[in-house]
Symmetry: C2
Subunit: 174 residues, 2 copies
Amino acid sequence: MDFDLGAGIAVLERTPLAMRALLAGLPPAWTDATEGPETWSPCVIVGHLIHGEHSDWIPRARLILAQGPERRFTPVDRTAQFRESQGKPLAGLLDEFARLRAENLATLAGWGLTGAQLGLTGEHPDFGPVTLRQLLATWVAHDLSHLAQVARVMAKQYREAVGPWRAYLPIMER
Amino acid sequence: MDFDLGAGIAVLERTPLAMRALLAGLPPAWTDATEGPETWSPCVIVGHLIHGEHSDWIPRARLILAQGPERRFTPVDRTAQFRESQGKPLAGLLDEFARLRAENLATLAGWGLTGAQLGLTGEHPDFGPVTLRQLLATWVAHDLSHLAQVARVMAKQYREAVGPWRAYLPIMER
């Protein structure tokens, strides 16, 4: 499937709603659960998505659109949420994510991007040249990847509780 | 994490909301997308969850609670949704899933299950004896597994569109 701006935005605007529908009001036994040491809980994942709204997607898109002399992206800080979100209640994090995402999608809509602009490039610190189209497609896929992760982290909490059904639930071994 | 009826129900009541938040109103390019031949789209997955509400979880729980001479479960029909839901609009399927789930959770709450009842067993066609507690934990894990699947199926549609970022998105290869 080719990247389509409207179809991509349709997913981006739903992610905060889906995270809220799944997580808001759940006991901490679910929202603070992890897959083991050094892995992320649903709360930490929402914090990571918030950091991306501040620092990754729209700032990188701006850098590409500016086409200035410096088009190299700042590397993603994968532990920022441990400084920025740790200890904050999940309800507030879900609100913050929804607010930032709405602002960022308003910014994106305001740009009225053309096909030519979607083909402009920036420089990824690991991959080299990447297009704005690829960046926006990755924003969408990154959302979905972390939504799948939240569901997987939660499912794994019942790895033992499901008894023999574990054999029919490949998610338990991922 | 041990199965806890309240914590389990907290997830079961959120799944229809999360599916609706993620899928309602999305273009069919997302909701009819699959991972390839013989794999399921988000629409088909919602149909499968509806079939489970009719035929699997509560009927099996009833069979266990009755402790009659016949405690063997009817095998799950994994293709029922292709007969029962094919061609139905997703909006209606999401409504049907939400309605059936609410009814089933009302039934479950009405039983006021005790710890002793959660330890009663039925006979799984493949696994032999399973407890009501394991059945209910599996209901929860099955929801989460299919929510992760929906997000994965959607993410994979951008496998090519993300360009080199594919290397950072293991969900694309699952």
